[in-house]
Subunit: 238 residues, 2 copies
DNA sequence: GTCATGTTTCGGTCGCAGCCGAAACGTTCC
DNA sequence: GGAACGTTTCGGCTGCGACCGAAACATGAC
C-alpha cells in the first residue's frame, strides 16, 4: 500500500515504450535528429494514422516534443533522461540469450560509429574514451568519469569550451554503457559537445535514415593526429 | 529494415515492465531483497496464480532469477543493469506533470533513506555523496565519480576494501540519479559496499515490506563523527 | 481557385493477454 | 499417514488497445 510512487508511474512509461511501433519510433529518434510523422511511420512500419495516434500518446506522456514547421511536424526525444532509459532497456535486451551472433553485415557501420541520442557510441565512441583516458585528459574509472585540468586545456584548444557554467542541470561528463560493445563511452554534456564538434569539423557525417556515422578522410587523419586513434586498425577489444 | 537491433528487443523488455502487476513486482524487488512468490503477489495486488504467470515470464526474459528454498521460491532482480533500467524509467515517470505534490507523509521515510537495489538512495544517499565529495574522498564531478587515493585509505579504515581486483565487470563507482531528489547518489560496487557496511554496523536497518531504511541511534552518532552528516538537520537541498 | 501532400479524426474489427476460479502438484509439519 | 501451506497449471471470460479504411482537415504549390 505504499508502492504507488514507484510501480505505477514506471508501468505507464514502460507500457508506452513497450509497443513495437512506438519502440521503433523512439529508436529512430535515438539518432538525435528531429523527424517528421511520415518518416516515423515508415520507421515503425505502420500507417500514418496509426503513427499519429502513437505520437499523440508519446507527446502527452512527455517522452517526445514536437515543433511545427510548415505542414510538417518535427518530433524529438524530450530529454536526455528519456534517451537514457531507452539505452538502459537496450542493454538488458541485448544481454538476452543468443543475441550476440544475430548481427548481419548491415549493422557493421552501426557498430563502428553511431549516434546515441546526442553523443557518439560504437567503436569510435570507445576509442575516444580510451584515448582521452590514456592521455590523462579524462579520469574514466570503471564506468564513471571526470575531466582533468589537462583535459580542459585540450578541449579548449580543440574548440570545445567546457568551462562555461552549467546552465542546465545536465551532467558534464557521464559514461554511457554501449549496447553493442558492452563498455562505456562518453556521454553527458561533454559527449554532446564532442559529437557536435566532430560534425562541425566534418570528421564524421550522419548517414540518412540511420543512427550510423561515417568517418570522412579528414576525420581519419584528424583522429589520428589529435586523438592517436587509428580508425583502420582492428578494433581494441580489451 | 535495419532497426531490428534497437527497437525490437527494447519493446519486448519494456512491455514486460509495462504491466502494472509486473511493475509492482519489480519495484518490490528494487529493495534488493529476495522475496517469495506469495509476498510478491501481495505487493502486486493480484492472486497467486496470476503472479506465478508473471514470474515465469520475467524469469524467461532473465529480468529476475530464482532460488529454491524448501517450499518457497525466492526471487531477485537478475542484475544491476535491470535495476538501472527501472530506475531510469522512474526518473521519467517522476518528471510527469504534477507528480511533485502527490506524496504523502507515508513516503517520508522512503525519501529520507532507502535502498535502491543494492545501494543507498534518498536524502541519506545524497548526504553520503556530498560528504565524501567535500572531504576529497570521491571525485564526484557532475554525475560521474571516481575514488581518490585518500578515499581508498578512508574506506579501508572504515572497513571497506575497494582495492581488491574487480572480479566482476561491474563499475567500481557509478552515480545513480535519484527519482525522489533528482540528484545523484553513489551506486556501483562502492555503493553496494557502503550499504553492506552500514547494515553490518547497524547504522541503518531495513524496514519490513518496504524499501525504506531507518537510521539507528548508533548510526546517527557514527554518521556524524565519520562522515560529518547531521541526520537531524534540515536536508540540504542545494 | 484547384490539386497534391502531410497529418489527424472517426468507426469498427480483431486478437492478445491479464485476470480469476478450480484443481492439481509439491513440500513441510505433526 | 493426513492436514496445511505455497505454488503452478488449466480453462474460460473479458476488456483494452493496436490496426486499418475512409474521410476530414490543414498547408503549400500552381
Amino acid at each position: 500500500m505504499s508502492h504507488s510512487a514507484s510501480g505505477d508511474g514506471v508501468a505507464g512509461v514502460a507500457a508506452l515504450i513497450g509497443e513495437p511501433a512506438r519502440a521503433n519510433i523512439l529508436s529512430a529518434l535515438m539518432s538525435g535528429r528531429a523527424l517528421t510523422a511520415g518518416e516515423l511511420a515508415r520507421h515503425a512500419r505502420v500507417t500514418a494514422q496509426t503513427t499519429s495516434g502513437h505520437l499523440a500518446r508519446l507527446l502527452e506522456a512527455r517522452l517526445i516534443v514536437v515543433e511545427r514547421q510548415g505542414r510538417h511536424r518535427y518530433f524529438r526525444l524530450a530529454s536526455p533522461e528519456v534517451a537514457r532509459a531507452i539505452e538502459a532497456l537496450s542493454v538488458i535486451a541485448g544481454a538476452g540469450p543468443n543475441r550476440t551472433l544475430a548481427i548481419g553485415p548491415k549493422d557493421e557501420a552501426v557498430r563502428r560509429a553511431r549516434t546515441c541520442y546526442d553523443h557518439i557510441a560504437g567503436q569510435l565512441g570507445l576509442a575516444l574514451a580510451d584515448s582521452m583516458q590514456a592521455r590523462g585528459l579524462l579520469v574514466h574509472a570503471d564506468g564513471a568519469g571526470a575531466i582533468t585540468h589537462e583535459g580542459q586545456a585540450f578541449l579548449t584548444d580543440f574548440g570545445i569550451d567546457m568551462t562555461a557554467p552549467a546552465r542546465s542541470q545536465r551532467p558534464l561528463c557521464r559514461m554511457c554503457l554501449d549496447w553493442s560493445e558492452r563498455r562505456h563511452h562518453i556521454a553527458g554534456r561533454l559527449g554532446a559537445a564532442l559529437l557536435n564538434r566532430l560534425l562541425e569539423l566534418r570528421w564524421v557525417e550522419r548517414v540518412p535514415d540511420s543512427r550510423a556515422l561515417t568517418i570522412t578522410g579528414i576525420g581519419e587523419r584528424g583522429l589520428d593526429t589529435r586523438f592517436r586513434i587509428d580508425v583502420r586498425s582492428p578494433v581494441p577489444h580489451r
